[in-house]
Amino acid sequence: MQALVIVAHGSHLNPDSSSPTQRHADTIRATGAFDEVKTGYWKEEPSLREVLRTVESDEVFVVPLFISEGYFTEQVIPRELRLDGWDVSEWDSDGLSADTATLTATDTGQVVHYCGPVGTHESMTDVLVRRAETVTGDPDVGEGFGFAVVGHGTERNENSAKAIEYHADRIREMDRFDEVRALYMDEEPEVDDVTDHFDSEDVVVVPLFIADGFHTQEDIPEDMGLTDDYRTGYDVPTVVDGHRIWYAGAVGTEGLMADVVLERAAEAGADVGAAVERVREQTRETPTAGD
């Protein structure tokens, strides 16, 4: 028996925080690749402290739905799950390369394969691109478009900027979009000046965030000038300074995120069969080329 446990932040105030997590869990559950699929949260229930006891399997793959390596993935989650003998050196990571560590949960005795966060996995780049396809409704979007990946910046966590740069570089290497930039909320180059950073008339803006909330629904749309007041909403695209801004909201709400979770678990040794291909296909929201 193998179980998948997706762990995420959650919120005391906003139910939208955990809904993408639940949706990705549902997608994976439907593939039948795991005997059990559960979710656990820092701020919701089941708590990280108690989620493992709701799982009957002896072997558990834990995938953190977080953007970068840092405080939560390195300290909070292993501590709350009671992973015996955890030390961050187990991941031997440069801030982007955490893959998996196998430990025992002291309270349940389960073998836990503790995976790196979804945000730094290479297939996250595909989710960013898929998000651009979804928001433009064009499966071939790229030519004539600029692409901005948006993150917090280094103020809170140095690795968070690393993850943004990493994916921006990878999208650039695809040679699919005319221009690709990494922009930040609290440092240069700033998302406020998004139009200064692009020549392309059309720009897709995708925040590398797990869930929609205050930052992605209020701050960023207002900072970019999509709206004066987030409560009144904004159009997609919205014209700002002569550029059409296609604002995608948090990448974490994209259905393909389930694929990253699966790949993390598969690389940690989970037997997921053909689930990866199935999820890649099922979560597509735009018709594929030729349809």
Binding site: S11, P15, T54
Partner: protein, 376 residues
């Protein structure tokens, strides 16, 4: 009448090949080339397989009961099994009594859930879950669900659409029913409404509940919650009594609080009588305590306010109404209630100055500790 299906009988024979079956009053063993079969109602020796079949058919409830518990439910999910056993008081009642009672339905209250176990075909069990407030409502009038995950949406908001961060708050909406779940889906449904309560209940029952008391739990906190450690100043635990009274009372949370100040110091507040235990201060309590740690860093001061005796009582009535969540129940024209909106607006019009100071008495802005906070 309960029958024994062919596959049930065959599994019994297969099991008995390996070792004697001894379960809930049923004893079946292989003795060389014959069988022994025993229940509290009688015993037979030297049975042929046909004779065993006949004996099994005569004692069908014992056989189908064995099949349900040992072959269908099994032992993999230890908490799940224990919970399902509880739903028919399997450790107290004989098979005969359980089968009689299950035909009418055996009820268990679990927080605001009402679970009814009944007998399906050939000793199979079926479980219904609904809100306790819908106890007497005809199932046809309730919204019907079959997928345990639907409990997630039902548990998200209270009846006024407000988000429920604490799943065990007594604010679950009613009007729905899961009419016929199997054992696995029943436990999944219960665990979706009230996460981890089944496991914690069973750990407690088995004497293995890992309670983590206040002291230990806040010692573990880091990051923005690390500050809560500074709230314990080594002089008593009154502040933790207040936390428990504020958050953990049965009117606020249906878990039975088992955590105390520390292993040797019980809180003075009652933990409640919930069916399932609370084993450590939850994230809602920790987040609130972070705020209280800051607020409680302030010293008391003496203020002077001018209030009539009735106004003083009105202030108390307003605090009570907010604390008990009664504000929305107070009717617009019920001016007998201190926390009535008109009464309160009148008090504000009369007693607040243009800066919102009660009685015109300034708070002293320099020590206003209400800074901005993140919910993290």
């Amino acid at each position: 009448m309960t029958d024994v299906r062919a596959e049930q009988f065959e599994s019994l024979v297969r099991r008995v090949e390996e070792e004697p079956v001894d379960f809930d009053g049923l004893y079946v063993a292989r003795e060389d080339d014959s069988y022994a079969f025993e229940t509290p109602d009688g015993s037979h020796d030297g049975l042929s397989e046909a004779g065993l079949h006949e004996a099994a058919a005569d004692a069908a409830p014992y056989v189908t009961n064995w099949y349900y518990w040992e072959e269908v439910v099994g032992h993999r999910g230890r908490h799940r099994r224990a919970f399902l056993r509880k739903l028919e008081a399997a450790d107290e009642f004989s098979v005969g009594r359980r089968y009689d009672e299950l035909r009418d339905g055996m009820h268990t209250e679990w927080g605001q859930l009402r679970i009814t176990a009944t007998l399906g075909d050939d000793g199979d069990r079926r479980y219904e879950v609904r809100h306790e407030a819908d106890e007497a409502v005809d199932a046809a009038e309730l919204d019907e669900y079959t997928d345990p995950l639907n409990a997630r949406e039902l548990a998200t908001s209270d009846e006024r659409g407000r988000y429920r961060p604490l799943k065990t708050a007594p604010t679950l909406v009613d009007g729905w029913v899961f009419p016929a779940l199997d054992g696995r889906d029943l436990v999944e449904t219960v665990d979706t409404f009230y996460p981890a309560t089944v496991a914690n209940w069973n750990l407690e029952r088995e004497g293995e509940l890992d309670v983590s008391h206040w002291e230990e739990t806040i010692e573990r906190q880091t990051g923005i919650y690390g500050v809560v450690k500074t709230w314990n100043r080594g002089e008593g635990h009154e502040h933790v009594n207040w936390v428990a009274e504020a958050c953990c009372d049965d009117s606020q949370c249906l878990k039975r609080r088992e955590w105390q100040y520390d292993e040797n110091t019980e809180l003075d507040v009652d933990g409640g009588d919930g069916a399932f235990p609370c084993r450590e201060p939850c994230s809602v309590v920790i987040a609130a305590s972070r705020k209280w740690t800051r607020l409680e860093g302030e010293q008391s001061r003496t203020y002077e306010f001018d209030l009539t005796p009735s106004e003083k009582e009105q202030v108390e009535a307003i605090i009570d109404a907010v604390a008990d969540g009664r504000v929305d129940d107070i009717r617009e024209a019920d001016i007998y209630e201190g926390a009535n909106r008109y009464r309160t607006r009148f008090l504000r019009a009369k007693r607040f100055d243009e800066d919102g100071n009660l009685s015109g008495t300034p708070t002293d802005a320099a020590e206003d500790g209400d800074g901005g906070e993140d919910d993290e």
